[in-house]
């Protein structure tokens, strides 16, 4: 619920699965109003996930309206015509389920996981808020405060968070759509009117701008009829204009330093502009990420955490920090965040990381290493297929970003086909110091040494 960003540790959920020896059944169609529907039946455990994804995220926000996508996600829990405030949570939980919603750069999602006899209940709730969300002054005021409180607790009062959310995007991107703070400013939030919110809802939360994915213990004909019943007569809207996310040519490499009074341990963020989604280089970089940071035997763990004992912990991902390889939509970087032993300097850590990359650029990967990393990626994909929610998330991304949910059954093949030569070439093409942005996060003394005093960022 109400999380703007999930910061991922090592994720390998992007690729699936003929080589995975699993075939995920898919039924796909569109309602008359344009709502895309993806159904995947699995009757093993009587559980169903209803996953609703809207094709709008924080990168669709306009100037003066930062934080809108996230504010709106909060509004979606404030009640609708037939399910007034409080009903959504109470109904799902008292029926034995869980629910959540989250805002991302390019999409916003909502889900319910319930015992499978409650499929209709989840569809009732999701359709009611798509049809008739309660947008009024009281709810808006209330949720503005909730969002601000979330910002204070989860960002302003947490080490590294401000650097990651507010500063890092400005180093990686120059197009404002990509570089603005995805959680938004208090000023813009204060300025949001009921009218603004209603307009945003009408254009972005229409059935033709969404996909509904249902995974689990269902019967296809029954589910199909229920979906028509609950969603069939919701009116479509003209599709909103997609923002232009293109970055200007000529990436500006550089280093910045951010002083963080809440951090006790220094950290450094390193990023490189990434390739197009599902391009050859995208798969190669995904494997490079696994070589550097995936599993117990990753280069970073073996050589930096253990060997040099310079790095304490790390996370990295295509699309870090707001996206994952799975929901990566260019422009995105390949980026990483490392916390390190204060005996070292940030420059030394950057050099050590670049040295690890240089090894990949200098010679093709050893066949044994390549085989191991592919096994690791393959296993991660299969493991993520188990839960109905993670399966729904994968289907939704393939449907929304690529228009093809069935990629869930073939995408792993593309990653498995990457050669040592392609890895070497991608490392040379993308991961060079002249295409690198660095943000060093340095612990700063806090005012009077008070443990909870927050820094002066507003």
């Amino acid at each position: 619920m109400k999380k703007l960003l999930a910061i991922h540790f090592l994720l390998f959920g992007a690729f699936l699965a003929r080589s995975a020896d699993v075939s995920i059944p898919i039924e796909k169609y569109k309602l008359k109003n344009g709502l895309r529907v993806v159904l995947s039946k699995d009757n093993a455990v009587p559980v169903v996930t209803v996953y609703m994804i809207y094709d709008v995220g924080a990168r669709s926000e306009e100037k003066g309206r930062t934080g809108f996508a996230h504010l709106f996600e909060h509004m979606m829990f404030e009640g609708s015509a037939n399910a007034p405030k409080g009903t959504h949570f109470a109904t799902v939980e008292s029926n034995g389920g869980t629910l959540n919603g989250s805002t991302h750069p390019d999409f916003t999602d909502y889900f319910e996981i319930l015992p499978s006899n409650k499929l209709a209940t989840a569809l009732w709730l999701e359709s009611d808020r798509m049809r008739s969300l309660a947008i009024n002054e009281e709810n808006l005021k209330n949720q503005k405060e909730a969002v601000k409180q979330e910002r204070r607790l989860s960002f302003d009062n947490q080490p590294y968070a401000t650097a990651i959310v507010d500063v890092w995007p400005t180093l990686m991107f120059r197009n404002w759509q990509n570089s603005h703070s995805l959680i938004g400013s208090f000023e813009d939030l204060n300025g949001a009117s009921v009218d603004d919110v209603a307009k945003f809802f009408k254009s972005h939360y229409a059935p033709d701008n969404a996909a509904l994915v249902i995974v689990g213990d269902i019967q296809i004909p029954d589910a199909t009829k229920l979906i028509e019943t609950y969603f069939g007569d919701i009116q479509p809207q003209p599709l909103p204009k997609r923002p232009d996310l293109a970055e200007p040519a000529g990436f500006a490499a550089g280093t910045q330093v951010y002083k963080d009074p809440l951090a006790r341990v220094p950290g450094v963020i390193i990023g490189y502009p990434g390739p197009k989604r599902r391009s050859q280089d995208y798969y190669a970089l995904h494997l490079i990420d696994a070589i550097l940071t995936g599993g117990d035997s990753s280069r970073f763990r073996m050589n930096l955490v253990k060997g040099k004992q310079s790095v304490i912990e790390y996370e990295a991902e295509l699309g870090w920090p707001f996206a994952s390889a799975q929901d990566y939509r260019d422009p995105e970087p390949y980026a990483m965040f490392l916390k390190y032993n204060p005996k070292f300097t940030g420059d030394q850590i950057v050099a050590q990381v670049q040295d690890e990359i240089a090894k990949l650029q200098a010679a093709p990967l050893d066949a044994k290493d390549l085989d191991r990393v592919k096994t690791l990626v393959r296993a991660g994909v299969v493991r993520d297929l188990q839960g109905s929610l993670s399966r729904a998330q994968a289907l939704a991304q393939y449907e929304l970003a690529d228009g093809n949910a069935a990629l869930i059954n073939t995408e792993l093949d593309a990653a498995m086909a990457v050669t040592a030569g392609q890895i070497q070439a991608a490392a040379k093409k993308y991961l060079t110091p002249d295409k690198r942005a660095v943000l060093q996060i340095v612990p700063a003394p806090s005012p009077q040494g008070k443990p909870d005093e927050k820094k002066g960022v507003e």
Binding site: A81, Q219, T229, D233, D296, R383, D452
Partner: protein, 473 residues
């Protein structure tokens, strides 16, 4: 219409759905939540268990949906077995098992594990030390070989031990900067007294003292097959072939008598207020609770359901009243955590300094309320649905099933525990909840631990009784 039927059986499910779906969209009554059939019955895949001649317990669940296997090797060797002067020994042993054996370096272990498409790691809880592993199904024999090797032949190499100590001390400092950690630690100390359950983390001095001798000594004493159970879930070979593999990997492991496990023996509960002074804190972490019955007793299910009514999820009283209505806190919940030989119930909230007094009053009043009036039928049935539904959700993945079986083993639960779980939840009655609430939730003998700035909240706390002030160390 089917919708008018007072109760629907599973058999009526399809009829209902077809009927509802057959209606034109406009005629659906959107004003009310749809009528739905009862929660479907679910039978777990069969759980079989056996023992090798050396006493190693074996629990198997065949689940072939995904080409994966998930394993747990559970030893009755948790942190309660830490010697008095070495808190943190069990967790150190657990963490270092995978950092080198007689025939494999740490690097080799890591590379071999990744090459299986798997994972391998040790961890220690209060009662058990568990080696957890997973792999692509075809690599099961190699996974079992690694699990046997780390459990039997770890060498605790000097450089790995040193690195562990350095990281653990750093990590401990980080933990101690968190008020929630300080609160849990103090609460545990007060409630468990001299019992081995009292410590939840090591001390720096103890970490500093770790060496090959104490690590290997703990391993040689407690990590023996007759103290262990191997749990395997997933796409497994046929039983006969699997048993052959198990005998190959674990058969030569000699059983060995173990010393008696330490007794829990916590002190009798009594009302006391302890303030852990954390100068500069802008919030206060409040824990109110006491000893409670363990999982195997008849009071477990009523108290577990009662605890959920009080402080589990967004339908709970603490969430609705202390968070939503009063706005005292972002977090207000209760927990009922059972170890093998002792359990604790506690209500927890984190509040701004200014509202410590009304917030603590509100918590005490919720506890009194639980202990003085029976819960309403609807509230009880909603919570029972919630608990039973979440149980189902946990069984979707191999990891979820293995975690449940591992907990059963750690806590010594009966074999039919999972099978009868839902029935036992559903059979809890309001008077049973009231009875256990009077005994364990009524705050008369509850310990109150608060972490915060004594100069800001000390006076407010004194209104509730004598306050013992300690330093955050």
């Amino acid at each position: 219409m089917f919708l008018g039927k007072p109760s629907l059986t599973v058999g009526a499910l399809i009829g209902l759905l077809l009927t509802a779906a057959g209606l034109a969209a406009q005629t659906v009554d959107r004003a009310k939540a749809p009528r739905t059939p009862p929660i479907p019955g679910y039978k777990l895949p069969p759980v079989s268990d056996t023992k090798l001649p050396n006493g190693l317990g074996v629990v198997l669940v065949h689940d072939g949906r995904f080409p994966l296997v998930t394993a747990r090797l559970n030893f009755q060797a948790g942190t309660k077995f830490d010697p008095k002067d070495l808190p943190g020994l069990a967790e150190a042993v657990a963490a270092l098992l995978t950092e080198g054996t007689k025939t494999r370096t740490a690097r080799q272990l890591s590379e071999e594990t990744d090459a299986l498409g798997g994972s391998l790691a040790g961890g220690a809880g209060p009662d058990a030390l568990t080696v957890s592993g997973s792999a692509l199904a075809e690599n099961l024999p190699r996974l079992l070989e690694l699990m046997a090797d780390v459990s039997r032949n770890a060498t605790f190499p000097q450089d790995e031990v040193d690195l562990y100590k350095q990281n653990r001390i750093q990590n401990l400092q980080q933990e101690r900067s968190q008020p929630s950690f300080l609160a849990s630690q103090k609460f545990s100390e007060v409630v468990f007294g001299a019992s081995p359950y009292a410590h939840i983390a090591p001390t720096e001095e103890a970490v500093f003292k770790l060496d090959l001798k104490v690590l290997a000594g703990f391993r040689d004493t407690w990590l023996v097959p007759n103290q262990a159970t191997l749990i395997l879930v997933g796409k497994l070979p046929a039983d006969e072939e699997l048993m052959k593999i198990l005998v190959q990997r674990f058969g030569s492991w000699r059983q060995k008598p173990v010393p008696a496990a330490p007794k829990a023996e916590p002190p009798a509960p009594r009302r006391q207020i302890v303030l852990v002074d954390r100068p500069g804190s802008v919030q206060a972490d409040i824990h109110v609770g006491r000893l409670a019955p363990i999982r195997t007793g008849p009071e477990y299910f009523p108290l577990m359901v009662g605890n959920t009514i009080l402080g589990g999820g967004t339908n709970s009283r603490m969430f609705k009243n202390i968070r939503e209505k009063e706005g005292f806190a972002y977090d207000a919940h209760s927990t009922y955590a059972t170890k093998r030989d002792a359990a604790v119930f506690e209500a927890v909230t984190e509040v701004r300094n200014e509202v410590v007094e009304p917030a603590l009053k509100a918590v005490l009043s919720e506890l009194d309320q639980m202990a003085s009036a029976p819960v309403a039928a609807t509230e009880l049935s909603n919570i029972k649905n919630y608990v039973a539904g979440l149980y189902l959700l946990r069984l979707e993945t191999q990891d979820g099933v293995a975690t449940q079986l591992n907990a059963m083993n750690t806590l010594g639960l009966p074999k039919d525990y999972l099978e009868t779980y839902t029935t036992r939840v559903r059979s809890v009655e309001p008077d049973q909840v009231l009875t256990v609430a009077k005994k364990y939730m009524a705050p008369g003998q509850a310990t109150i631990v608060v972490v915060g700035d004594a100069t800001k909240i000390g006076e407010a706390l004194k209104k509730f009784g004598d306050v013992t002030i300690t330093k955050a160390n």
